[in-house]
Symmetry: C2
Subunit: 233 residues, 2 copies
DNA sequence: GATATTATTGTACTTTTGACACTATGCCCG
DNA sequence: CGGGCATAGTGTCAAAAGTACAATAATATC
C-alpha cells in the first residue's frame, strides 16, 4: 500500500494589463522579513492554495481578488506546474515559513493567465498587503519559486491564442480604436503589421463592430471607436 | 488561519491509438466488485495518484505503464480538472472505497493525452489487472468520474494540435504511406481531404521524408513509404 | 487660415488554397 | 503470360488570401 499522498495545490495568476504605454504583468511583493541576506523579499505572481470546496477557476478568481482587489477578470487555465522541488529552493523558504502551516509541503500549482485593460480597470497598486504593482513585461526581475517560468509560459500561451481566441479585446477598453487594436497585436506578437492590411482583416471580423462614436480629447483627427460583440460569429 | 488543505492529486491519461481500422482510446476496467446494482464496474481512463517525489509528466508515464504496460508513449499535459465534486458521485464510491485509503478525499487530476501507433505498439489488451481495452472512439460508454469529459476535451485538444504540432506521426508506424497519413487526418479532423492537395502540402513539409522503400504485402501497386524526421524544420 | 498630427482608404502583385480526372504500377488469377 | 483489379501517383486553372505600398481627409492648435 503506497504512503498516503500529502501535497498542496495552489493557483497562480499571470495577469497581463495593457494600455497605450505597453503590456504589463501584475506582481505582488512578499511582505517584509528582509532579515537575512538571501531571503530579501521578492516579487511573485498572485497565487495561493485553493480551498477545499472550490473549483480551480473559482479559486483563481478568489485568490486574485483577495490579493489584488481585481474582480471579474478574464482568467484562463493554461498549465499545471508540478516539479517536486518547485518550492524547495533556499531563496523561498523564509517566506513560506512565514505564511504556511506546512512550509515544507510539496505544492503543485495550476497556472492561469488573465487579461485586463489598464484603462477600464484603473490600477490601484500597493493598495494591499505587501504591495501590488504593474511591472513592465521585460523589466521583471527574479521572482519567487518558478514564477519566472510560469510567466514565460503564460506569455507564450497568450501569443499563441491571441488571434484564434478573440481575447485581444479583454486587454482593451470597451471602446477602442483600430490603431489601439493594432498596437496591441504588434506588442503581443512582437512584429510590425501593415496598417491597411490589418484594417482589411478587421473588417472581416463580424465581432468587431463600429460604434456611432469617435475618439475625444485628442489633438488630431479623432478615430472611429469600435467594440467587441461576442455573440456574433 | 485557514484550515489545512487536504486533497489528492492524480494524473489521467487519454491514450489514443490508431491503425487502419480507426482511432481508439485506451480504457481499463475497474476490478470486480459488482455486488450492488448501481455500482457495476465501469471503464475508466488509466490514471492514479501521483507519488510524492515525482513530477507530473513522470507520474503520467509511470501510471500508464503500471496500468497498461505501455512504455515510452508520447504524452502531453492538456488540462487540470478540479471540480470539487468530480469523484463524489454515488456511482464511483464503491470503486474508490476498494482502492483508496481516503476514498472521500477530493481529487484534482491533471489530464494528459497520449498517442500511439497500434501497429508498432502491438496492443496487449486485458494483460493486466482488471483488463485493458482499446475502445472505438464513438463507442465509449459511460466512464467513471468525469472521464467522459476528460476524454472529450482531450480529443478536442488533439484536433486543435494535430496540424500545428507535428504529432500525427506519433499515431502512425515509423514507416507510413501518404494514404495512411491522409486517412489519419481525415479521421481526426473529421473531414474529407483532397488527395492531390494533401500530397502537395506534405511535399512542403521538410520533416516528412521519402524512404528508399515501398509498401509490401498489398495486392496492388505498393506505395512509397515515408518517415518523420523531427530534427529538420 | 496655416500647420501639425493621426485617420482613413485602394490597387497591383504574389502566394496559397481549392476543385477536379486521368494515367501508372504491381499483384492476382485464369 | 495477358487481362483485370485495386490503389498510387500526378498537374492545371480559378478563386481567395496575403503582401507591399502612398496619398488624401479630418480635427485641434496656434
Amino acid at each position: 500500500m503506497p504512503a498516503t499522498q500529502s501535497l498542496h495545490l495552489s493557483v497562480d495568476c499571470v495577469v497581463f494589463g495593457y494600455n497605450d504605454s505597453g503590456l504589463k504583468v501584475l506582481l505582488i511583493n512578499q511582505k517584509g522579513l528582509s532579515t537575512s541576506p538571501e531571503t530579501t523579499p521578492r516579487s511573485q505572481l498572485p497565487g495561493d492554495l485553493i480551498l477545499m470546496n472550490e473549483g480551480l477557476d473559482q479559486a483563481a478568481q478568489r485568490v486574485l481578488f483577495e490579493l489584488t482587489q481585481l474582480e471579474g477578470v478574464y482568467l484562463k487555465q493554461f498549465k499545471a506546474f508540478g516539479d517536486p522541488n518547485r518550492v524547495k529552493e533556499l531563496k523561498d523558504r523564509a517566506w513560506l515559513q512565514s505564511v504556511r502551516n506546512l512550509p515544507d509541503q510539496r505544492v503543485v500549482t495550476v497556472g492561469y493567465y488573465g487579461l485586463v485593460s489598464l484603462q477600464d480597470y484603473e490600477p490601484r497598486p500597493s493598495s494591499f498587503a505587501g504591495g501590488v504593482q504593474w511591472s513592465e513585461l521585460n523589466e521583471v526581475g527574479p521572482l519567487a519559486f518558478d514564477h519566472n517560468s510560469i510567466l514565460d509560459e503564460a506569455f507564450e500561451t497568450l501569443q499563441e491564442q491571441l488571434e484564434s481566441q478573440h481575447i485581444s479585446f479583454e486587454l482593451l477598453p470597451k471602446k477602442f480604436t483600430l490603431t489601439q487594436l493594432q498596437a496591441l497585436y504588434e506588442i503581443v506578437l512582437d512584429k510590425k503589421l501593415d496598417k491597411r492590411n490589418f484594417r482589411k482583416n478587421v473588417k472581416k471580423m463580424s465581432h468587431v463592430v463600429p460604434l456611432d462614436e469617435k475618439q475625444t480629447g485628442v489633438m488630431h483627427k479623432p478615430a472611429q471607436l469600435f467594440s467587441y460583440e461576442p455573440q456574433k460569429d
